[in-house]
Amino acid sequence: MNDPAGRLQIHLHRQTGGLGVRIQSSRLTSASRVFIGKDLTATLETLPRLFSVCATAQTVACVSAGEAALGIPPHPRALATRLLLVDLETVREHLWRLLLDWPRFLGESPQGVAMAQVMAAFDQGRRALAANGDPLRTGPGRGTGAVRPDAATVAVATASAATAPTAALTALAAITRRQVLGQPPGDWLATTRDLQTLRHWARTSDTAAARLIDLVDRQGWAGLGRSPVAVLPPLTLATLEARLSGPGAEAFIATPLWQGAAAESTPFARQRNQPLVADLARELGNGLLPRLAAQLVELSSLLVALPRRLVALAESVPSDAHSDDSFDKPFGEPNAESIDEQLDPPAPQSIIPSVNGAEELLAAGQVPAVDPELTNPSSNTPERLALRAPPRPGPSAKVVPAQGETPQSPHTAATLSTGTGLAQVQAARGLLVHRLTLEQGRLADYRILAPTEWNFHPQGAAALGLATLPAADEPTLRRLAGLFITALDPCVAYDISIS
């Protein structure tokens, strides 16, 4: 049937020497064009209705790109609130996999009641964080086109953030403890640090997640789907701009490649240096068990980190919001070195990520460069949200970094003159990039690069991983393929056909 949301058609065909894999996507990768001609406020109001699955990440990327295009720095608290919301959404999405999808591979019923509680808690937390001033929407105007909440609204929002969001996080942690880990997330992280302790947990805990990990381990499926597909390295804004602005941009967005090869942007990519995931990857590379473990690790890490970030956010509210001079503080003058770094960023290093267990892949020259400082973004921090630096007032075409931003990208006068902004956010399934151009207050161009296009590229981690599956009988092959696809977590429905 036709599915307006788009689907992935994944065809496995037995052939001499193994499986052939064909992945076709009917996803609307150019859906963002619907916003062209609208102003930013209307876009921000409408966009969550269209991209309602990861609406928070999409909206944060949009508002951030819009602010960059306008040269408006986000208020630090608004930025912190947004990124907290994105990570809260990641918690919800990971719990969807664990509560609804994982049980199916055990022949168990999806845990719909628990997932409904998760969604209610997420909504509660989101509403509370957005109370009296949604940090994802246009704030009270401070000049034409301002897209940041003003200090007062952020102050109220973050003050109210001290109670209801805490309750929401407590509820999410309780559901995770009860339905997923059998113990508090922090305890699980502290005690589950290698294959042996993961195996012990899986064999002694009475949850579907533990049973699935145990099944994968006992059945010898732990390394299934291992492939030489590389992890997508941190991309400079210049790199993204080059790919997203040229004549090949549409093709890049539909089937992106990095340095001529497919790459993955997933929770495994983010967590591969975490102790448990790194230990598993040493033996199993990017196979099934490290991928499943990465989802558990990321969920647990966020549930440990988010309450602290919430407290920090609440404590950052000044007694008199209007006296917070940082809100109106212009960007400081960068030193010449930082400008130079932006204009001439270092080439990606060739890496030897000895901790990610892919030495043999490296030996084959199949893992691209990674900046060691950026290899494990377990959650969004302001540094992770790489905004296009806004223009400095005055005739100079040079730009300065936003507060808390690591200079990453050169910017050209041409880019500035067209009012283009670029933003990247670590969403639940991987890197989400928005690039938009404003002309006379309206969107003249809008492009979105989503992680599923990397991960389900026709020659990507899903395709190459599926090609390594054993040519088992059809029910078994279908089950293994579904499990591996779930571990890679596409954001749309998929169909598997086998011939």
Binding site: M1, N2, D3, P4, A5, G6, R27, L28, T29, S30, A31, S32, R33, V34, T46, R49, L50, F51, S52, V53, C54, Q58, L100, P110, G112, V113, M115, A116, M119, I448, A450, T452, C491, V492, A493
Partner: protein, 87 residues
């Protein structure tokens, strides 16, 4: 992109919490486990076989128009057609 699509509930089986919805011009079975109080005639947002929440007919119409404009014109318009009678 990650779209959830509005669909009209045409029948509900209370025993299983499953519903028939009109989606993409055909009738499809989805789970109502994640929403409370959904009734026949309601619009719900559907994602990978689950209703995510109820929306008003106006929101449904607006969202379907967005999807149509975004490139899913044919299928979205099919969704707007009257639902097939429940079998």
């Amino acid at each position: 992109m990650c779209l959830a699509v509005p669909a009209l509930i045409t029948a509900i089986d209370p025993a299983t919490d499953l519903a028939q919805v009109a989606l993409g011009g055909v009738t499809k079975e989805i789970s109502l486990a994640l929403v409370e109080g959904a009734e026949v005639g309601d619009y719900v947002l559907v994602h990978v076989g689950y209703a995510l929440g109820r929306i008003s007919p106006e929101e449904a119409e607006h969202t379907l128009a967005l999807i149509a404009a975004a490139g899913g014109a044919e299928v979205a318009c099919e969704t707007l057609l009257p639902p097939l009678p429940a079998s």
